[in-house]
Amino acid sequence: MNMPSSRRATPGRLAAISATLLILLSPFLWLLQMSFKSNDQILQFPPPLIFTPTLENYISLWHSAFSASFVNSLLSASLSTSLALLFGVPAAYALSRWTGRGKHSLSFAILVTRMAPPIAFTIPFFLFYRWIGLLDTITGLVLVYTSFNLPLVIWMMQPFFDTIPVSLEEAALVDGARTRTVFTRIVLPMVTPGIAATAILCFLYAWNDFFFALILTRTNARTAPVAVVNFMNYEGWEWGKIAAGGSLVMAPVLIFSLAVRRYLVSGLTAGAVKG
């Protein structure tokens, strides 16, 4: 078949694509290469493009308070993801199977809870946490991230449940199985890929958060994104550590995004609607 001229992979076009990609990614690559440079190399002019990479930035991070922040990030992101799934997956199933009136209004209301800019939640959460002593705790962060991710789980999972024919469940029900058993034994195993993709997106949202962590934590529960910014202090910016810290913060994101590439669009657009 003859492709129309506007849709052909000519060498010229491939070169243009490669060049665009290089330009687009160069800021990101610059940070990455900097993380493997010593402080002297970072300040050299012109910047050496070929150099002996060093791990000294990463090693000094490992021995600093940054490693605790990294663990805090891991803990708050994974705990909140588990909780959001625990609450959200059954709710998504219920919404998918519920045929009554008000279904769409309810779905929309759930979505609206995340339309607000984060600051709208931060002020009440900050005051409340201050009152009951949840400021600067992992529990506090987990609670915010769970509420933040719950609508995402419900919205991401509902289409997965919609694709499972109700007749399949009815057959089991007629055979005397209870709805709960049908849900856990038949329906859930069928949506495992969806759950995995949703879990990764939830994890990324919590992992990527800067705003909540900035305001709701100080030192004990400080997360990695906030810790990176703390390397920019009044005594001077430790660019080597900033670059290495930044690279460490983005590492899980890059790995996971590749894994859920197919679901990124629906996840991100759901996030976008929630503003």
């Binding site: 129309p4 610059w30 002020i123 994104p225 994101v253 890059l254």
Partner: protein
């Protein structure tokens, strides 16, 4: 077991499955929203204990807003930032999608890498651009120096500070519009452009009369998403300009943050946030309504 027995059990299960989520969402989304509105009716300052429950002049904060030059300025800054970055993201995203809309294994593989800026943690994006905008260390300034071009200090200049935010925000979110447009392009049957080609249409004509009408809805939708989302540029502003110089890049979101967590004006900040919230919801609902009307007309 009778038919209605199954239905009854099913209904109970649905209610049981839905209830925890609704309770959680009520507790952590609806209650805070109500609390925010309540706080906005008080002159609450953290340093002034009685102020949290002082409802003697409930609308005072809202009366102050129109006369507050920083608030008015912040709305204008946000409007500028949103319009320019949405415009660039939609245009460049479309161009990129047109460039990458070719059937090729290599291109399919490369597409994933085009998405990187969007999935990076926002604070890492901010760090990356801080790096590029900091003269001592920036590859941009190195290049300028090598070419003997004098670069102005971008983030601290009144003229360029907002532009530097727009550039960084465009870089971060361009992949989003690209992805959306690419998905739309791939639904266009090849026969259309082939037929046009046979009829002797130029490539520009094909784009204008065949491709563009096809992707217009998705351009509008992705622009809408980005518009609603553009109030979330907080990490970029926080790290690159801190709202400055002066208030040149101080968006409403950032102003509300400073009020609450820098100057402790919790009550007033809540009022600013409530107004911002209403504006965002209003714009979102307006866009949804417009979208419905378009659909109804089509």
């Amino acid at each position: 077991m009778s038919e209605s027995g199954i239905d009854g059990e099913r209904r109970r299960f649905i209610a049981f499955a839905l209830a925890p989520s609704l309770i959680v969402l009520f507790a952590v989304a609806v209650l805070p929203a109500i609390y925010l509105v309540v706080t906005s009716l008080t002159p609450f300052q953290l340093t002034n204990p009685g102020s949290a429950i002082d409802f003697s002049a409930p609308l005072r904060n809202y009366r102050l807003l129109p006369g507050d030059p920083r608030f008015v300025n912040s709305l204008i800054v946000q409007a500028k930032l949103s319009c320019w970055s949405v415009l660039f993201q939609v245009l460049l995203g479309m161009l990129l999608a047109l460039l990458l809309n070719v059937p090729s294994r290599f291109v399919e593989f490369a597409r994933t890498f085009f998405l990187i800026p969007m999935v990076l943690p926002p604070i890492v994006v901010a760090v990356i651009w801080k790096l590029i905008y900091t003269p001592d260390i920036s590859p941009l300034y190195y290049a300028a120096q090598a070419l003997h071009v004098t670069m102005p200090a971008l983030t601290s200049s009144v003229d360029f500070a907002l532009t530097s935010i727009v550039i960084a925000d465009t870089w971060e979110w361009l992949p989003f519009t690209f992805l959306m447009v690419l998905a739309a392009l791939q639904t266009i049957p090849d026969e259309y452009s082939e037929a046009a080609l046979v009829d002797g249409a130029s490539r520009l004509q094909i784009f204008w009369y065949v491709t563009l009408p096809f992707i217009t809805p998705i351009l509008v939708i992705s622009g809408m998403f980005r518009l609603i989302d553009s109030v979330k540029a907080f990490p970029l502003i926080f790290l690159l300009t801190s709202g400055g110089p002066g208030t040149v890049t101080e968006v409403t979101n950032y102003y509300a943050y400073l009020l609450a967590f820098d100057t402790n004006e919790i009550g007033y900040s809540s009022a600013v946030t409530v107004v911002m919230l209403l504006l965002v919801c209003g714009i979102s609902l307006g866009l949804v309504w417009m979208g419905r009307r378009r659909e109804a007309m089509a």
